[in-house]
């Protein structure tokens, strides 16, 4: 302050008050931009100069009927597997909170098994369910079958895929839901109980709605990861998006072009889901205003 006052150029400095300061150059940033520009240029050049990428074929199959059908199958698998996962996940989360050690143990065992083995293996198991249990029906374990049908008739491949993905998902969903249930203070359930609500009513009308705020963001991530995970059903021969393109390239040997087709569609779908997720989270954040402590309102 004092040096400014004694400066002979004070008037000159004050005269600059109308101007904008010039931004300082950051050499690191410039270098980074240059490196990225070079990499992007190289990447672009490779994509468009290497004929083996075969863009005309990509274009030809991008909207092919069997590819579009595959997309529908992928979306159906995602929806059904998530429904199985969420419903069963809520049940497992509630069991894990149960007062009964048997219920808690059963839920723990389920989660231990389905989180502890790869989803690919689980889907294969369901695909080969007919080898493990050729018939499904009523009977005496170890004894004669009273009534039964061929497993392959009851559990078609699509259902096997949904079961494999959904039962695996439930194990992860259970932990997400449990985190949400724990986040709701015990006083809420107590107040509901004191009013005469049953345990189920308390869960449905008081605890779950408040747990959703914590549950929904990670469920969005699970949906996106499920969309991609559905591609493992290829191993049991379900014609989802990946299944369709592999079937096409097994005939025309244009593997790279067709895998690019699959990637484009996966990216389109995950981008849409990511957008929807961010909108949902913003809405959730708006409707739930920050809880103030009782004293400072």
């Amino acid at each position: 302050m004092s040096s400014l006052r004694t400066s002979p150029d004070l008037d000159q400095l004050v005269a600059l008050s109308d101007t904008r300061p010039v931004r300082r150059r950051k050499p690191g940033e410039t270098a980074l931009v240059a490196v990225i520009a070079v990499l992007v240029a190289f990447g672009g050049a490779i994509l468009f100069t290497n004929p083996r990428f075969d863009w005309p074929t990509v274009g030809r199959y991008l909207f092919d009927v069997s590819v579009l059908h595959g997309i529908a199958v992928t979306l159906e698998l995602t929806v059904y597997a998530m429904v199985v996962g969420i419903v069963l996940g809520v049940v497992l989360a509630v069991l894990r909170q149960s007062a009964s050690p048997v219920a808690r143990g059963a839920a723990w065992l389920y989660i231990w098994f389905f989180r502890g083995t790869p989803v690919l293996v689980q889907v294969l198991f369901w695909g080969f369910a007919s080898a493990l249990f050729p018939q499904i029906g009523l009977g005496i374990p170890g004894g004669p079958m009273l009534f039964g049908v061929d497993t392959n008739l009851v559990v078609p491949l699509f259902a096997a895929a949904v079961l494999g993905l959904g039962l695996n998902e439930a194990a992860y969903m259970a932990e997400i839901v449990r985190g949400g249930l724990i986040s709701v203070s015990h006083g809420q359930a107590e107040a509901a109980g004191a009013l005469g609500l049953t345990r189920m009513q308390t869960l449905r009308h008081v605890v779950l709605p408040q747990a959703l705020r914590v549950i929904i963001p990670p469920v969005g991530n699970q949906v996106i990861s499920m969309l991609k995970m559905t591609s493992v059903v290829l191993v049991i021969g379900v014609r989802d998006l990946l299944g369709s393109v592999t079937e096409i390239y097994s005939r025309n040997y244009r593997q790279i072009a067709l895998l690019i087709v699959a990637c484009i569609w996966y990216l389109v779908m995950t981008s849409i889901l990511t957008y929807l997720q961010s909108r949902l989270e913003r809405r959730l954040g708006r409707s739930v205003s920050p809880m103030r402590s009782p004293q400072d309102a």
Binding site: Q188, G193, A194, L195, G196, L197, T198, Q201, H205
Partner: protein, 257 residues
């Protein structure tokens, strides 16, 4: 009406332990219709635990608690008390109102929805009937203009008044208050005590755990002093609070006044 002579709440020989610690060592007390019983005593004396036993938020290890002629948490089979079915416990609790220290309003519901939930879900009332009563009750606690506010947007005193309206919506025969003003800023205590005073004047039967000796002196029709899991002195509130006979009551009251 001979029923009017019977006490609404009877507790006999109530024992309760948390692990190895015995917190209730044989509680005997009656509450009659229209009575306001204040339970006073130091923290850890067991008064809140006993209150929570009355509507079975805590199970008891021994003894009986009868509210309105029924065991709250038990059913008598062949001369022994068996644990009651959850649906029966829920039904009996629905006639006992409870107000908590921490209010425990449902955070995802507005004041009005908080008051509506139990009548509609537990008693299956139609929306019109429940709504009419909810409006009247919010008006009674002076919060009708705040009916569409979420609990997070209400002061502590307002939240506690909504909580009282929520409990009254089930038309209880007995109201339990567990230190209803202990979590409030001093300037907000008065508005909650006013609502409770009004409720007592209307003839509601109340059991109140409180440290508000002024309220107890003014509103209570009976008082009980608890110490170490036992009721050491009970009776007329002026006698218990103003001229206690028991040395432990005198020591405690000397500290809180």
């Amino acid at each position: 009406m001979p029923d009017a002579e019977l006490p609404i709440m009877v507790a006999r020989n109530v024992h309760k332990s948390f692990g190895p610690t015995e917190v209730l060592k044989g509680i005997d007390i009656d509450v009659h219709r229209g009575e306001v019983l204040c339970l006073v005593g130091a923290s850890g004396s067991g008064k809140s635990t006993f209150l929570r036993c009355i509507n079975h938020l805590e199970t008891i290890d021994r003894g009986v608690i009868v509210v309105d002629g029924q065991l709250v948490g038990g059913t008598v089979v062949n001369g022994r008390v068996h644990e009651a079915a959850p649906a029966d416990i829920a039904a009996r609790r629905s006639r006992i109102g409870m107000v908590f220290q921490q209010f425990n309003l449902f955070g995802h519901l507005t004041a009005l929805e908080n008051v509506l939930l139990a009548p509609m879900k537990v008693r299956n009332e139609n929306r019109g009937t429940a709504l009419e009563r909810a409006h009247r009750l919010l008006d009674r606690v002076g919060l009708h203009d705040r009916k569409d506010h979420y609990p997070g947007h209400l002061s502590g005193g307002q939240q506690q008044r909504v909580a009282i309206a929520r409990a009254l919506a089930m038309e209880p025969t007995l109201m339990l208050f567990d230190e209803p003003t202990s979590a409030l800023d001093p300037e907000l205590v008065g508005e909650v005590l006013d609502v409770m005073r009004d409720l007592a004047a209307s003839g509601m039967t109340m059991v109140v755990v409180t440290h508000e000796m002024g309220f107890a002196r003014e509103v209570a029709t009976a008082a009980a002093f608890m110490h170490d899991g036992r009721i050491v002195e009970q009776g007329d509130p002026h006698q218990v609070i103003t001229q206690p006979r028991d040395q432990r009551t005198r020591t405690f009251l000397g500290r809180v006044r």
